[in-house]
């Protein structure tokens, strides 16, 4: 039954690597942008707080598919052109950043207020308090939600292929099933297998980390 997959294993493998590449770029980008947004949302400057809040409210409530389509088909209307790969990574990054922001912010909020008060009492500034006292402790409580967000991002990366990035697992599926006329079910199960190859170990790793951190706390 799985001959169609085994026959095209090299195609699956290169598709898998390309999907992993997309996910890694989005991981990096969303961590940076999301942390920045989180800092904005707890900062004393009202304008920054408002921008952070608005970003999260808008992006979190828009389907990823809409974000991707709007970028891939809308941005060229502004005569800004890029490859679908760039639009795909950008869409996934912008979308995931909103969730990273919320995860980091909830982590910051989980640090006991006494810590920040003590830092403030010593005369540390906002940025010193955040970077030296609060964030190092927040990392602990941030790991589980952040891990969940990024595992979800890996799964969401499957959608990126829909705008026609080419070469990644979604395209491997469309290419083999429609263009080359293979039976669809085995090809689909092959794609599913490669996703599970990442998500199940990542989930197990996260659960183990969570347990360790919970004991240490």
């Amino acid at each position: 039954m799985f001959d169609p997959v085994l026959d095209n294993l090299d195609l699956f493998w290169s598709g898998f690597l390309r999907s992993v590449g997309i996910a890694l770029w989005a991981l990096l980008g969303s961590m940076v942008l999301g942390s920045l947004l989180a800092v904005m949302r707890v900062s004393p400057v009202p304008v920054l707080r408002a921008v952070g809040t608005a970003y999260v409210a808008v992006v979190r409530n828009t389907p990823l598919t809409v974000v991707l389509f709007a970028l891939a088909f809308g941005i060229p209307a502004l005569q800004v052109n890029a490859s679908f790969y760039v639009f795909g990574v950008a869409g996934l990054t912008l979308y995931t950043a909103a969730f990273v922001c919320e995860a980091v912010r909830s982590g910051i909020n989980a640090v006991s207020p006494g810590q920040a008060e003590a830092a403030r009492a010593l005369g540390l500034t906002f940025s010193q308090t955040l970077s030296q006292v609060v964030l190092p402790q927040a990392v602990r409580s941030v790991v589980p939600p952040l891990g969940n967000v990024q595992i979800a991002m890996v799964k969401n990366s499957a959608v990126v292929g829909a705008i026609g990035v080419g070469g990644e697992l979604f395209s491997v599926y469309t290419r083999l099933s429609s263009a080359q006329g293979y039976e669809r079910l085995p090809i689909l199960l092959g794609v599913a297998f490669f996703f599970l190859l990442v998500t199940i170990p990542a989930g197990a790793l996260l659960a183990a980390t969570e347990k360790r951190l919970a004991v240490a706390r």
């Binding site: 808008v58 809409v66 800004v80 969730f99 207020p113 939600p145 799964k155 079910l185 599913a192």
Partner: protein, 290 residues
């Protein structure tokens, strides 16, 4: 917490904040101006791109909104059916998993882990294939619903299970002590309390169901949901930015309504029985529901 990160600002800090506010406001304004200029220069602010969507006096307006309306009704129907099915199936799976012994629940746990690890879009594709094998005449609408249900019922089952596990042991023990069967304890003591505690988390998962209905457009070419409507409009009116902006606003409004409902139920639930003996388990963080 955010209140203690910085002191109640004194005159100097207030001035610094004011300066920072002005600087960032100016920077943001500059960005906005650049963006608007870009929009203007490429003709994206032209009235005729927006008018069919926003101006009732244009000829296209009524037709445009009837397309959007029928898209909205498909999206809402898919959401309603999938949400209801996920709730029923999720609670059932949670109850069965909790009632089974260590060995008995292995297949169920494997199934839960499997669906949790798959992208929803793959699940929807799979649902389409499976339904096609069963009966080639099944509409893709039901494939969408089945795919969404398969994924979300598993997630809801996990939420409900966490709610039951977090209940104090005494609840189940008291039930057994007065002669209820384990099934009765689950149905009339554990599940009602768990559901109450986890309702906010469950509702925020329903927001995910709503957003994921948009995947229909990339899996099937004949489920005419809201995003399908947007794609049709952008091709006919040749205004991708404007069409997607309007559709995005509709999705946002729908999600915010659900979100408000979650906040409202949470408030109501915490107020409803202040003397309740059972400490309410903390609702799982809504932020991780991507």
């Amino acid at each position: 917490m955010s209140g203690v990160l910085f002191d109640e600002p004194g005159p100097r800090a207030r001035r610094r904040t004011r300066i920072a506010t002005v600087v960032t406001a100016v920077a943001l304004l500059a960005l906005l101006v650049i963006a608007v200029q870009r929009f203007a220069r490429t003709g994206q602010l032209d009235g005729d791109l927006w008018a069919p969507l926003l101006d009732p006096r244009t000829d296209e307006f009524s037709q445009v909104w009837s397309i959007i309306g029928s898209g909205l009704s498909v999206t809402l129907r898919a959401f309603a059916v999938a949400a209801l099915a996920s709730l029923v199936l999720g609670v059932t799976v949670a109850a069965v998993r909790l009632s089974l012994g260590r060995a008995g629940r292995i297949p169920l746990v494997a199934l839960v882990e499997l669906f949790r690890g798959l992208p929803v879009v793959v699940t929807i594709f799979l649902a389409g294939e499976v339904l096609r094998l069963v009966d080639s005449g099944t509409s893709t609408f039901w494939a969408l619903v089945l795919g969404l249900t398969a994924y979300n019922s598993v997630i809801i089952a996990e939420i409900v299970r966490a709610g039951v596990v977090a209940l104090p042991k005494g609840q189940a023990e008291a039930g057994l002590a007065i002669g209820l069967t384990p099934g009765q304890v689950m149905r009339s003591i554990q599940l009602p309390q768990a559901l109450r505690a986890m309702l906010p988390a469950v509702i925020s998962q329903l927001v995910v169901v709503l957003k994921d209905t948009a995947l229909a457009s990339i899996v099937f070419n004949d489920v005419q949901d809201l995003l399908y409507a947007a794609n049709r409009l952008r091709l006919v009116l040749d205004n991708p930015l404007q069409s997607f902006a309007v559709i995005a606003v509709i999705y946002i409004v729908l999600c915010v309504i659900l979100d408000r409902a979650a906040v409202w139920t949470e408030k109501r639930l915490t107020r409803a029985r202040p003397s309740s003996a059972a400490p309410v388990a903390p609702a799982e963080e809504a932020v991780t529901r991507v």
